[in-house]
Amino acid sequence: MDHDVIVIGGGVNGTGVARDCAMRGLSVLLLEKQDFGVGASGNSSGMIHGGIRYMTSDRKVTALACRDSGYIRRIAPHLIFRIPFLMPFASKRDGATLLERAAWYATEVYVGTYDLYQPLKGGKPSSRLAPEELYAIEPALRPGLHGAVTLDEWGIDAFRLCALNALSSERHGAEVRNWTEATEVVKEAGRVIGVRWRDALTGETGFSRAPVVFNASGAWSPALGRRAGVSVPMRPGKGVHLTLDRRFSNYGIICTAVDGRQMFLMPHENDSIIGTTDDDYYGDPDDLEASSDEVEYLLEGVESLVPGVRRARVTRAWCGLRTTLYEYGKNEDDLSREHLLYDHAAEGAAGLLSFAGGKLASYRAQSEEVTDRILARLGRPPVACRTHEEPLPGGESLPDPAELARRHGVAQGVTARLAYRHGALAEQVLRLCGEDPRLKLCLCRDEGIIAAEVVHCARHEKVRRLQDLRRRCRLATGGCAGLDCARVAAQLAARELGWDAERVRAELSDLLELDWRERRAVLDGAQLAAEEMARAVHRGLGGL
């Protein structure tokens, strides 16, 4: 056998399991048909939350989720940031009804109970804010609110979380192949014996043998299962998010949408995110795009508490598919967010396991559970899991941006973002500037991307296409639509990866198409002006 286990899918579950398996001494092959996190993981809300909603059904789940949030904070302290949320108390009319007051009290008690679990994840306890306190910290809220409770959660760059898990698994000996599609799960006498794959960029094909195949391909799982003759029941739910061009509020704000669903506006990294929708999706997971209606629904929901949101510049509308467990007769919102591991032995595919459901925040615990099962399937003795102890790459220490800036002669705005994205490895990125001072060239002032970071990612972070840099360092995801950064980044990547001019043009074109899909539904105001300028340059001048 070539490997002990082949993991299909480079989302957070696939990369998390690959890492855990590799750390427990298994020989692992990880296949991702595009890039790490391109599906539901990277397009999630980017939150490591403690599962407050499970307190009503199963408090053990909340305890587990909170403890795991604490672990993720331990292994990737650089990538995690606090998002304090406000749950404002709104009444229908001027004076609050008794019922409304009772509901607020219930919320307060509920969040107060959640406080018991906050120490597990290193979060701060909640507090009750009087109206004047609320408006002092969040003046953008509409008048007439009756105060709020606060709630502490964690945010994360989910694309990087996936990439770091993949890179870590490689450090532990796994073979990691992005842009490589699993074309066929091969079976023999009711057992899986391996996977055929095809490299999407080189066209290379191959067959790798392994007694266990773990299907973590998210919304693509049912189709992969069908090709292997097994069933992976799933009810995919489309979730749309909007990105605003700046941090629009100081705090995360929980709002109510027109249909009564809970949604939010929250500051996240350098901008703000509005989310999310939840609708059944029957289409092709490769063909996913936000619609004007979904954009309007989200803006309307936030507008109910933050009227100024209509003046905000929406730079992107992006979406992913929740891999929700199948159940008939329920509303999307009422579906369980639990996860399930399917063992397809009874369907004539022993050794094939599929994963459905689950949450980003619990990926590590989920991966531990799956890895335990894989070890059992392989008949190996149990090995202790260490994914909660060993830091992800860069998570070993937290560098001080001011000190980095002083020592390397780079603006602190840049070193702060570098330290955020790369943690302890920011030093390694900046050392490139010592060797070649030209690499201090700033490609994006919003994101603090310098040439050295592009070079570092191309060398060490499995960048195979220009669009991979969107996910490694947020290249070309801002409001200017890649006007400043795309060409120069492509040139830098070309030097590292040996691309000729034709390939550079193809990569640029591919990146711009991807960006366009996310902007199509939000072309308004200043964003439309930016679009006109970017098109004049990229399509008009560049002929891309």
């Binding site: 795009e289 619609s291 004007s292 309007e296 001072p437 030209r438 690499l439 201090k440 060239l441 700033c442 040439a451 006007l483 400043d484 060409r487 120069v488 040139q491 830098l492 070309a494 000729d500 001019a501 034709e502 550079v504 043009r505 640029l508 074109s509 711009l512 198409e513 960006d515 366009w516 899909r517 199509r520 539904a521 939000v522 072309l523 308004d524 105001g525 439309l528 002006a529 679009e531 006109e532 300028m533 098109r535 004049a536 340059v537 990229h538 399509r539 008009g540 001048l541 560049g542 002929g543 891309l544």
Partner: protein, 458 residues
Amino acid sequence: MSARLECEVLVVGGGLAGAMAALAARRSGARVALARRAPGATAVSSGAISSGTDPTELPGASLGARAGVADSARRLAALRPRHPYAVAGERLERLEEALAFAAGELSPVLAPFTGRHRWLPTPYGSFQAAALCQRSMVAADLGEARGRLAVVALRGHMAWDAGMVASAVERAAPLGGPRAEVARLDFPMWEEAALWRPHELAGFLERPGAAEDLGAMLRRSLPSGASAAVFPPVLGLSPGADVASRVAAAAGLPVAETLSDVPSVPGLRLQAALEARLRSAGVEILAGDLREGKGPGAPAACAGREVLAPSWVLASGRFVGGGIVRRGALAEPLLGIPVTAAEAFGDWGAHLARRPAASLTYREGRAPQPLLSAGVACDALFRPLDAHGAVIHERLFAAGAVLGGHDQAADGSGLGLAVFTGYLAGQAAAAGGSLAPAPAASGRPAGMLAPGGGGAGA
């Protein structure tokens, strides 16, 4: 407020279309004021003026055999009935006259109009047609240059890749263009200059001796047999600095720069040349937002002055310039003129202005996008039309990107169309509408715009 400014023509917008309108009106003897709040899209343009290429041309056609500027525009008009070229009807014959006028007015920066396209390399590895280009670009005209072009790599700066430019030249080689060879220069020589923005490099090259040193450096590194050298677009900001000629004199061969993306040194240079010419031609420039503007014949305020003019030229641009905005719906914010949009499949008109943005686009990003060609509809004299297709005001003209029906990224007619429509609109405005045929259906008195002229709430 100081004394009222009375003139024959008020131009709104300070980009190329507005400048052409103002200069054409001045040439006709009119007193002209030009109101602008900021440099428009011209300052972020490539620096050359393209009027659109023949959409029926095969990509393999040799550069020498391709349709000239006038023929290209005619073929574009034949295929795109809503393009201002098509709307202009017979007046499209005056395109060459307009371009020659622009070349003359801006002769410090622009090379003379030849009637054929120039094919100029870009930093993206493409080459693009230009009806007019700056003097600093002529030597890189792939339709004219022969032999071997030395493409200059600035070793000290990573923003440009000579390999990409060389690939653009090589792409044109089978079509009759020159060959390319990369020449590496150790420039800029200081560490901090590696981080300069394009305009900072350009400013540096204007200093006494800097261009000469660069030329001398080039002379030492030239590949043998080079016929001309092509630089990144940083050859001086000011039209008068003449950096390209100075480098050429020191290097001993013709020197050119490529077209530019944003920020654009050639674009800023073109804008500076416009401003200088407007001042020397005696156009009154008012810097600020135009307020209380109800249209021709009604007083408006700008930069603390009251302006009164019987003829207006609206040259306020599209989305970048702010002449057309979309805030939930497409609108023309100054006069409330209805904005005409097109749908991805078929339908066209002012009634589409409120449609969701996505329904005015195609999914394929590189396809021409109807939303990006939204603008004001006009008659053959470039007078804006109301929602029923009637002329809004006999003496209200429009020019440049505020006119709809063309997508400059798709058909390449951006600044060339600004020159053409600006020139004709300026002349017509100066003639006080007397160039116009007898008033058509609309019988409104001068000086009044229809209330609520269809523009969506801005």
